[in-house]
Amino acid sequence: MSTETLLRCTGVTKRFGGLVAVDDASLDVEAGSITGLIGPNGAGKTTFFTVIAGFAEPTAGSVTFRGQDITALPAHRRAEIGIARTFQIVQPFAGLSVRENIAVGAYLRHPGREAALARAENIAQRLGLGPMLDQSAGDLTVAGRKRLEMARALATEPSLLLLDEVLAGLNPSEIRDMIPVVRAIRDSGVTILIVEHVMQAVMQLCDTVAVLAQGRMIAKGRPAEVASDPKVIEAYLGHGAAKRMQAQQGDSHA
């Protein structure tokens, strides 16, 4: 199976004054995959994500998309070439209806009003927002707003969708509902990079997982491999945790 690298981040570093939020991090996202970016709190995931989305420029390093260097490309131009993002803290156009919200994204590829509104309706149906089309976006529940974030981003018809903690703040049943939605988006041909805290979802969804800890990329691989990597366990649970766990497992086997 030959795969094409859609997005490549090389040696990305982001400094805020003396603080190094992201330190020489590299990441490849294969076309057609769901790639997860995980890490403990404060690992620099969101900063890294922001650099990829074009909302911050890296101090060093480069981001290429389909071989084109996009490190300095402004956010709105990234949307044009096929990169869409959602926001961790949802950013609905609160004064507009769900339909109008999604239409703003759809206008990117469909300049006409009728076409954009029709496209918006179509995407809303796909994401289960059909019954709320005429509702004000400000009146949606948290789960509804997360879906709206995805719907709007999808309306720009991206080839790469960047999801920033779309499952955060949802209850377990809402998470269960959301997983097939994300999978269906990938199956429709959209590559996904997902930053996520909810491990159960990462394990179920991702083909590849990259782990960021204290700004550095410490592990990459299939979800199961990464989950049993001692470096990853230590990053989450503290120094020596991996050994202690192994010792405990040894005890219970005995």
Binding site: F55, A75, A94, V104, T156
Partner: protein, 330 residues
């Protein structure tokens, strides 16, 4: 399916414009026509403000900068360069639009928003006012007097109704333009920038370009109002053209009428100036003499009532009371 004459929003605009067009047959007194013409000029200035602030969320406190630019441009083009006012009019509008572009470029590129943007626009208007008041080219404190030569070819009309209809045609054009914009991609992007600039950028909206386009249009429209003002009164000075009064009326009218709606500026200007005029007349009758500034008290009271009871203005109130009333909403 959609797009019927009465439901696509163009119908109500044409009906309102037609009703305004026949008004001079009912009220033929010169003072009434003067007043109605003035209401239309303020409406036009307010429409310019509404496009930038109501739809785009960029609150200007200095639309006098554009209004005065239009007024001085058309007046000086005639007095200093002997240009025909009809030719000077597009020039004045372009100059207002250009002022908008420059002001917008300077402030939006510096990422000024909210009250910072408002203060910068106010500063621009004040600087223009002081310069116009000081420079010999603009006639200094004495202002500019446009020579009286009543001829339609000279943009001066013997019949007051002609001017009224001319001003109305400007207002009608901007009503249609605003409605068209509200239903276009540009309008959707403008509202998206108002609601959340970062989210808009993530969806491919070039926020800077959208805001620049809006302030350019806004400047042009308000400059057209200034040009009409100069041609109506044939005299301007720095305080009339660049004074805070027009900045305030250009923003009060849409806020009271219904911010970010097609009819808001018109409804607000009619209500604001209408009540102001009635109050002035009433107090003159009551006290046997004019009470200067009483109309400003009315403006203040209206604003307070509006903020407290009708935050979406008169149009918003009508929509709430009669849900079937759509009033040309996008």
């Amino acid at each position: 399916m959609k797009g019927g004459f009465l439901t696509n929003g163009y119908g109500p605009i044409l009906i309102v414009v037609a009703a305004l067009a026949v008004l001079p047959f009912g009220f033929s007194a010169n003072t009434t026509l003067n007043f109605l013409g003035f209401v239309l000029i303020v409406t036009l200035a307010a429409q310019g403000w509404n496009l930038l602030a109501g739809y785009g969320g960029q609150f200007s406190f200095g639309h006098a900068a554009f209004f005065g630019m239009g007024a001085y441009a058309i007046a000086l083009a005639q007095v200093r360069f002997g240009l025909n006012p009809w030719l000077a009019l597009p020039l004045a509008i372009s100059l207002g639009a250009l002022t908008g572009t420059i002001l917008g470029y300077l402030s939006f590129r510096a990422r000024l928003r909210g009250s910072y943007f408002a203060l910068v626009t106010l500063a621009f208007a004040e600087v223009f006012r002081i310069l116009a008041n000081a420079s010999a080219f603009t006639g200094g404190a004495a202002g500019v007097l446009i020579p009286l030569r009543i001829e339609a070819a000279n943009f001066q009309f013997a019949d007051k109704r002609s001017f009224y209809w001319l001003a109305l045609s400007f207002v009608a054009f901007v009503l249609l333009l605003t409605h068209w914009i509200a239903r276009s991609r540009f309008g959707a992007y403008l509202v998206a920038v108002r609601e959340n600039e970062d989210a808009a950028r993530a969806l491919g909206v070039d926020a800077l370009a959208v805001k620049l386009k809006a302030i350019t249009l806004s400047g042009g429209i308000t400059a057209a109002a200034g040009s009409l003002y100069a041609q109506k009164f044939l005299y301007i000075d720095a305080n009339l053209a660049f004074g805070p009064w027009i900045s305030v009326e250009a923003l009060l009218a849409p806020i009271i009428g219904g911010i970010g709606t097609v009819f808001g500026p018109l409804a607000g200007a009619v209500l604001l100036l209408g009540l102001g005029e009635i109050t002035k007349t009433f107090f003159t009758w009551l006290l046997g003499g004019a009470l200067p500034g009483i109309d400003l008290v009315v403006f203040g009271v209206l604003l307070i009532l509006c903020v407290a009871f009708a935050p979406r203005g008169v149009i918003g109130l009508l929509r709430r009371l009669a849900p079937s009333f759509r009033g040309g909403r996008a």
